[in-house]
Amino acid sequence: MADIDAKIQAKKRRNRLLFNSAAITYGSLIYLFLYLPILIVILFSFNTSRMNLTFQGFTFDWWGSMFSNRTLLESFYNSIIVAGASTILSVIIGTLGAVGMYKFEFKLKSVLSNSLYIPIAIPEIVFGISLLMFFSSLHVQTGMVTMIIAHVTFSMPFVLITVRARIAGHDRALEEAAKDLGAGESHTFFRVTLPCIMPGIISGGMLALTLSLDDVIISAFTNGPDAKTLPIKILELSRRGVPPDAYALSTLMIIGTVVIMLSSQLVQNRMLKKRGEETVSP
């Protein structure tokens, strides 16, 4: 009996090992597919040839020349401004909305809740042309402001939904306890509710930032002649060939975002841990 059991166990273990190695191989291949073009971007930012066809030789030239490429840098700054402003705005609006929808019952709540999915679901191009026609019918000159408005419109629902998911798991009793102990409405919000939902706000904000920096289509319809983001500038350049200094700038952005994301992940983990400890030891 024991012998058969041991055999079955050994077979199970072998099967699991086989499955695991197959899973790891397959997973790595998919990740390779996702990262292949990024590796090309990094590699070709050091290429001596201007043409992005084959790797000719190693140089740091583009890393120097990118700092004197005015139009490229300008579009990079525009991207940062649009992403920063739209993230801050959508975090404020989205968080307020999520808390309000959690706290209050009101007539159009389900309508509002379903409407959040409209900007998420409709194709970006439809969203882009609708805003273009809207702004130009009102004779609003498109530029930085219209791009920020557009970016808030597509990222705010994501923030609201992320924060709302976080509040749903949050204990109402905590707030009641704070109020029973004499804390006012705003005091309760800032000292009890806000810290609880902070991880949701941070991940919602990160999502907003990511979506804004990566956006092409909606920016393509709402940008102005002197206000273009980096993806739009590169899209324009791509017709004649993207210069390698754009690759160098993109590589720099990869490094920057990796640092930001890792540190935000750390902060988030620490917060979750801290909250965990607090609830364990009352």
Binding site: A23, Y26, G27, I30, Y31, F33, L34, L36, P37, I40, N52, L53, T54, I93, L96, G97, V99, G100, K103, F104, F106, L112, S115, L116, Y117, P119, I120, A121, I122, P123, E124, I125, V126, I129, S130, L131, L132, M133, F134, S136, A150, V152, T153, F158, L160, I161, A165, T210, D214, I217, A220, F221, P231, I234, L235, S238, V242, S250, I254, M261
Partner: protein, 293 residues
């Protein structure tokens, strides 16, 4: 008497305060959605029924936009675009499903890192990533070098519909994986064990238990790939030959390029809106909207 009055007064005051709090908190969201989502979409509907003008549109009723949409020329464009979206969705599910399945088997601690790894490519904007694919797939590129080294025939991919399909799958695969992962992760592993303990053959527990339980995820992934695929015009521009256009490219040209035919572009967009609404309606029958985002 006095007590009663002040009670009523307090109640009114509390109601006013609640109302004000509601306006301050939910108001901005509602205002934003109405002004920048609903009103612009109304513009699309209205303009689709107007006359074409020098600057895109002119006052006056016309069905010309819709008549052009259903003409033979653009009927072919729409059919072609739907086919591309279908192929993209099928490939994303085919590659994404096993990948999401592998992710659920990874150690719990690693999962958030693995999800982060899927999101990370977004931080390098997709234009430059798609552009980098051209380096890989051009006739003398690394893909063909690899094929040659393996003793295989080289392929001509650049500026073909195959290159567009590659770009679409590349761009949309992450969006397909995440809903699939969410639905797979919810399955109780003991269900699977029970199924195989009861003597179900190897593929049976998968077909009978896992796949039906993850249908909402499969549907969500389908929506997340099928619909955006119809709009990603810049991938068609960068990867394709530019001879015969897809629906997204045709729409774009009515607004950003020489064509300037807003009613036609709007009418084409209405098709995409209707398609989105129909798919979302079907989806809400089997899955919740929360799982989509």
């Amino acid at each position: 008497m006095r007590g009663k009055f002040s009670n009523a007064g307090e109640r009114i005051l509390a109601a006013i305060r609640k109302f004000l709090a509601l306006i301050v908190m939910v108001g901005p969201t509602g205002f934003w959605l109405v002004l920048f989502v609903f009103v612009p979409l109304v513009f699309v509907v209205v303009i689709s029924f107007m006359q074409r003008g020098d600057y895109g549109v002119e006052a006056g009723f016309s069905l010309q936009g819709y008549l052009s949409v259903f003409s033979a020329l653009y009927g072919k464009t729409i059919g072609k675009s739907l086919l591309l979206a279908l192929e993209t969705t099928a490939l994303c599910l085919l590659f994404g499903y096993p990948f999401a399945y592998c992710m659920t088997k990874a150690p719990k601690k690693m999962v958030s890192f693995l999800v982060l790894l899927i999101m990370m490519p977004f931080w390098v904007n997709s234009v430059i990533r798609i552009y980098a694919w051209r380096t890989l797939i051009n006739d003398n590129g690394y893909l063909n070098m690899l094929l040659e080294a393996l003793g295989l025939n080289t392929i001509h991919l650049m500026r073909t519909n195959g290159a567009i399909l590659l770009g679409m799958v590349y761009e949309l695969l992450p969006f397909a994986v995440l809903p699939l992962y969410n639905s797979l992760e919810k399955i109780d592993p003991s269900l699977l064990e029970a199924a195989s303990d009861l003597g179900a053959k190897r593929h049976r527990p998968f077909l009978r238990v896992v796949l039906p339980l993850t249908m909402p995820g499969v549907f969500a992934s389908t929506i997340q790939t099928f619909i955006p695929c119809l709009g990603l015009y810049y991938i068609c521009n960068m990867m394709g030959g530019g001879t015969d256009l897809y629906i997204g490219q045709v729409i774009e040209r009515q607004f950003l390029s020489e064509a300037h035919n807003w009613p036609f572009g709007s009418a084409l967009s209405i098709i995409l809106i209707v398609l989105t609404i129909v798919m979302m309606k079907q989806y809400t029958r089997i899955g919740s909207l929360e799982d989509m985002a």
